[in-house]
């Protein structure tokens, strides 16, 4: 017991939240625009159509590649799927005016164009599947609403669509009490610190649970590495693009526009009813950021056929699960109906 306590104290004392190497899977950047880029991960042998992944705009992309043996990306690449990952990057002060229209019509549209060109040259195909995680999935859905024929099939992972069921975040994001205009008008971008604090208070028991979990599983082989990788990623939050955040909060959390006539973006409506590509929704059963009901709500507004799968885990923990990799690979490699 005393030995464990000593080891535990040493581990905690020497641990640096920002000194842990994550996101180390070998890749090539095939396109850059402003702070965003497309990262390409090549399989040894191609067995399926290339997969375009839209990552969350609030955290770094490395959540999909935290550790070599617990990496969504490496798992998909090993399954023979060429992966193109849209890393939205870290917005700076000058990016505060960037709204959803610029992110979708300029960055994402162009990222997809370059991805298709790369896939055509490298794999002789322009067909793409798409996967969106968290708010990256909500935004991917909006893109599909604006450009309905973009993908062969689409998957959303822990991505809120029906914001009435978005748990405590929906309670907090009330137009009467949440001062989104004052925050964006004065800060420019939505500050990462504020976002991080709100996630901590979303479930206050998370912080003591985290340390309790570390203590209880301290002796388990590999657990220290997993814990450290998650903490390193979690402590490195990024700002949310200012005007894009204003639009996201007002149209999604305040008005749940996917369930009305669509999210208004650049004078058009991102209406999911127009999208006929098959959709697969993955949700985590213990997700308190995007509860399964918020993700599965997509089946009520998506035009094409929708399948829903609930996996065990939390919002972030699900990314470390081999079950997730298997489920996504099976979905991607499934022959067309």
């Amino acid at each position: 017991m005393l030995d464990k306590m000593m080891e535990f104290t040493k581990f905690v004392a020497k641990f640096k939240f920002d000194g842990y190497a994550i996101g180390t899977a070998p890749h090539e950047v095939i396109f850059r625009q402003n702070k965003s880029c497309v990262r390409y991960f090549e399989p040894a042998e191609r067995k399926g159509e290339p997969l375009f992944i839209s990552m969350p705009l609030i955290n770094k992309w490395a959540v999909f590649d935290l550790l070599p043996h617990k990496s969504v990306i490496r798992g998909l690449v090993d399954a023979g799927i060429p992966v193109y990952l849209l890393d939205w990057g870290t917005p700076q002060a000058e990016d505060a005016p960037v709204g959803m229209e610029e992110l979708l019509d300029s960055v994402m549209r162009r990222a997809l164009d370059r991805t298709r060109r790369h896939a055509r040259n490298r794999w002789n195909t322009e067909t793409l599947d798409a996967l969106g995680y968290c708010v990256g999935g909500t935004v991917l859905a909006a893109y599909c609403g604006l450009y309905p024929d973009s993908f062969r099939r689409v998957a959303l992972l822990a991505a809120p669509i029906d914001f009435r069921h978005a748990g405590r975040l929906a309670t907090w994001a009330d137009p009467e009490t949440f001062p989104v205009d004052q925050i964006i008008d004065n800060h420019g971008n939505f500050p990462a610190e504020l976002m991080g604090t709100s996630f901590v208070w979303l479930k206050p028991s998370t912080t003591p649970d985290k340390w309790k979990g570390l203590w209880e599983r301290f002796d388990q082989p590999g657990f220290q590495d997993t814990w450290a990788a998650i903490e390193a990623w979690n402590s490195d939050s990024i700002d949310f693009w200012g005007e894009a955040y204003r639009s996201y909060i007002k149209n999604c959390y305040f008005q749940n526009m996917y369930f009305q006539d669509g999210w208004p973006i650049g004078g058009r409506k991102a209406d999911l009813r127009k999208v006929m590509s098959p959709l697969h929704v993955f949700a985590a059963d213990r997700d308190h950021i995007c509860p399964p009901a918020a993700a599965f709500g997509a089946k009520d507004v998506w035009g094409g056929p929708v399948q829903c799968t609930e996996l065990k885990g939390g919002h972030v923990g699900i990314c470390l699960s081999s079950r997730l990799v298997k489920a996504i690979a099976a979905w991607s490699l499934e022959p067309e109906a």
């Binding site: 002060a93 000058e94 990016d95 505060a96 005016p97 309670t171 206050p204």
Partner: protein
């Protein structure tokens, strides 16, 4: 002699009870409209203060004829918009490249078709010539009257 109490188990039970109590208490607080309203007002005030501070710093720097944060942000934004323009040009160039590639492919296909047609014609002509020579047999008169042979296409 009575057994020693299991301290690990006891501390675990204590933690679980504490956690349940705290969670229930925080659940009440964090969903209380009055608390959320006060919190929202607080965040709004802090944001306004930050905005006012940034504006005051910028005004002071302007008075000192120094570039402000706002100036630098504007320059960086202009650079981003310029990059957008460059990428738009790149879009056009890539589209032109695609079109040229398509045209080139079509032109090559057309040239192959034309070459194949010429080969076919040449083969037909050779066959006709062979038949003509066979019909003529060895007649020197008709051979002398024969029209000059069509010049072979190169």
């Amino acid at each position: 002699m009575s057994e020693m109490p299991d301290l690990t188990k006891m501390s675990q039970q204590f933690y679980e009870q504490w956690e349940q109590g705290m969670t229930a208490w925080w659940d009440q607080v964090l969903e209380n409209p009055a608390f959320l309203s006060a919190l929202g007002e607080n965040v709004a005030n802090q944001s306004r203060m930050r905005g006012a501070y940034a504006k005051a710093v910028d005004e002071n720097l302007t008075k000192m004829h120094l570039p402000t944060r706002g100036d630098l942000v504007r320059v960086a934004r202009i650079a981003t918009l310029l990059e957008e323009k460059v990428l738009t040009v790149e879009d056009h160039l890539l589209n032109i490249q695609d079109t040229l590639g398509r045209i080139e492919k079509e032109a090559i296909t057309a040239r192959i078709d034309a070459a194949e047609t010429r080969i076919e014609l040449r083969e037909k002509l050779a066959a006709l010539e062979a038949r003509l020579e066979a019909l003529e047999g060895g007649s020197p008169a008709s051979s002398a009257n024969r029209r000059p042979r069509a010049k072979k296409e190169s």
